[in-house]
Amino acid sequence: MIDSKQLVEFAKQPQLALHSLKELLAMLEGEEETEQNCASELLENCGAPQPSDVSFLCEQLRSGVFCRVYWCSTLLGRLGPTVEPPAERSRIQTELCNTISDSKLELTARERAAWAMGELGGVDGENRSVLEKQLDAAPARLKRLLAAALAT
């Protein structure tokens, strides 16, 4: 659990919250609404993760837990178009494509994954085919986000 002293530190330097990613994701699933809200707020403000966090974030995408998928997609999207090398970007995009294609997931989590694809940009061949396949049957907002990702 993150204490009040840490919270003040995080408010002053939001990126410090990234050091507590595991705790924040656990708090999202907690029963206490205050904890959920606190974790959401910190994740909103913490900015882009470190390249060293990518594997952990991709792993969380496979959890199937809505709030984890939603926030890990968000964090991955914040990496933007600068992810290097291209193979690493392709790996992240493949994970995001799997999330977008998972019809059991809540729509807003899939939408956030599609948004992240657009932020990363430069969708490569295989992942492009996956997105195009999703495009036809997608609801309006997801369709719009997929189209934006494909246009990058």
Binding site: A11, S40, A140
Partner: protein, 344 residues
């Protein structure tokens, strides 16, 4: 009213439609005016003037002195406002003190499943003799943590009601948290035309600012048309946490006559970013007196940034308006209705 009448409500389109959230009827503007007239006595002093019950303003914080001729409208993102802050007496006391500086406060980030948060806050505000009331919108959001918009207003200086409030219906799901619109009217002496205005309360998604800001001009334009057609209201004030500085406004900032009150001054508590603003058409809303600002919580309470951050990571922003409806060519002055008639 000093605006050409739009003949059609053009925004009832595929982009953004409007559904009245709480049964806001087309003639609600007249209803509000009637209520204001009926309730005049409750906010007047022995001279027939209408005096705010807000706490004495502190000039050193940059707030103008309290007068019956003006009202102060504020926007305050109280960062994750819910159970935790309500249970912290130190924080609660300061939130109450902030709100009591203003006639209308548009609040963002009420995050509590328990719907007693805002009513209890208003109870605390009124416990020292004030007469504030509130409006609150539905819980909104795409993640587990939902938010509500709220308005807290001083009933001794302004009037509103739940019938005068609605949430924008965003059929295309372009905005994370659809704006909450509320209509207000000032309490003024019988010989003065009250200032009527609509406030659009918005909190954009910081991750999707690039997607949300480009549609904001359409949203504002649509609300302005709707407000004019349904309530003959030309004073529409968009405010809140836009997560963007004016240079990022794009088409919103290019609307003819558009004016924003915060430019170049940070609105976050650590004083690094401009996230919040108050935006309106300066030609139409000539009730604006020209005075506006950012309320520095550190100055107000003589506290350090660390302590101010316990209250919120945002600072309240405010703007001052005449409590009397203005005629074209006038700027923020208190105009007697008889004089207004004579000029016309």
């Amino acid at each position: 009213m000093n605006r050409q009448v739009p003949t059609v409500l053009s925004l009832l389109s595929t982009l953004v439609g409007f559904v009245l959230f709480t049964g806001c009827e087309p003639d609600v503007g007249y209803e509000i005016n009637r209520q204001a007239s009926d309730n005049h006595s409750s906010g007047s002093n022995s001279q027939g003037q209408f005096v705010s019950s807000r706490a004495p303003a502190s000039r050193m914080q940059g707030l103008p002195a309290r007068t019956p001729q003006t009202i102060l409208i504020a926007s305050f993102n109280i960062q994750t406002f819910g159970k935790k802050k309500m249970e912290d007496a130190w924080v609660l006391e300061r939130i109450v003190a902030v709100i009591r500086q203003f006639d209308v406060v548009a609040i963002q980030e009420v995050r509590a499943e328990d719907q007693t948060t805002i009513p209890r806050l208003v109870q605390f505000i009124n416990s020292q003799g004030a007469r504030y009331d509130y409006l609150i919108g539905p819980r909104l959001g795409r993640s587990v943590s939902k938010e509500q918009y709220a308005y807290i207003y001083d009933t001794s200086t302004v009037v509103s009601s739940t019938d005068a409030m609605y949430t924008i219906e965003d059929n295309a799901d372009l905005l994370h948290r659809e704006p909450l619109v509320a209509r207000f009217v000032t309490r003024v002496p019988p010989n003065v035309r009250p200032f009527t205005f609509s406030i659009v309360n918005i909190h954009t998604d910081p991750d999707e600012v690039k997607l949300e800001l480009p549609v904001m001009h359409t949203v504002l334009k649509g609300i302005r048309e709707f407000e004019y057609v349904s309530a003959r209201e030309d004073d529409v004030i968009l405010l809140g946490d836009l997560n963007a500085a004016p240079h990022q406004f794009g088409t919103l900032g290019q609307i003819p006559g558009i004016y924003w009150t915060v430019d170049g001054e940070p609105t976050n508590t650590i004083r690094k970013s401009t996230w919040d603003n108050i935006i309106f058409d300066r030609g139409l809303t000539n009730e604006f007196t020209g005075r506006s600002g950012v309320l520095d919580l550190c100055d107000m309470f003589k506290i350090k940034t660390d302590q101010a951050l316990l209250i919120s990571d945002h600072l309240p922003i405010w703007a001052e308006f005449s409590s009397a409806e203005q005629v074209p060519g006038m700027n923020g002055q208190f105009v007697d209705r008889n004089q207004t008639s004579a000029r016309r």
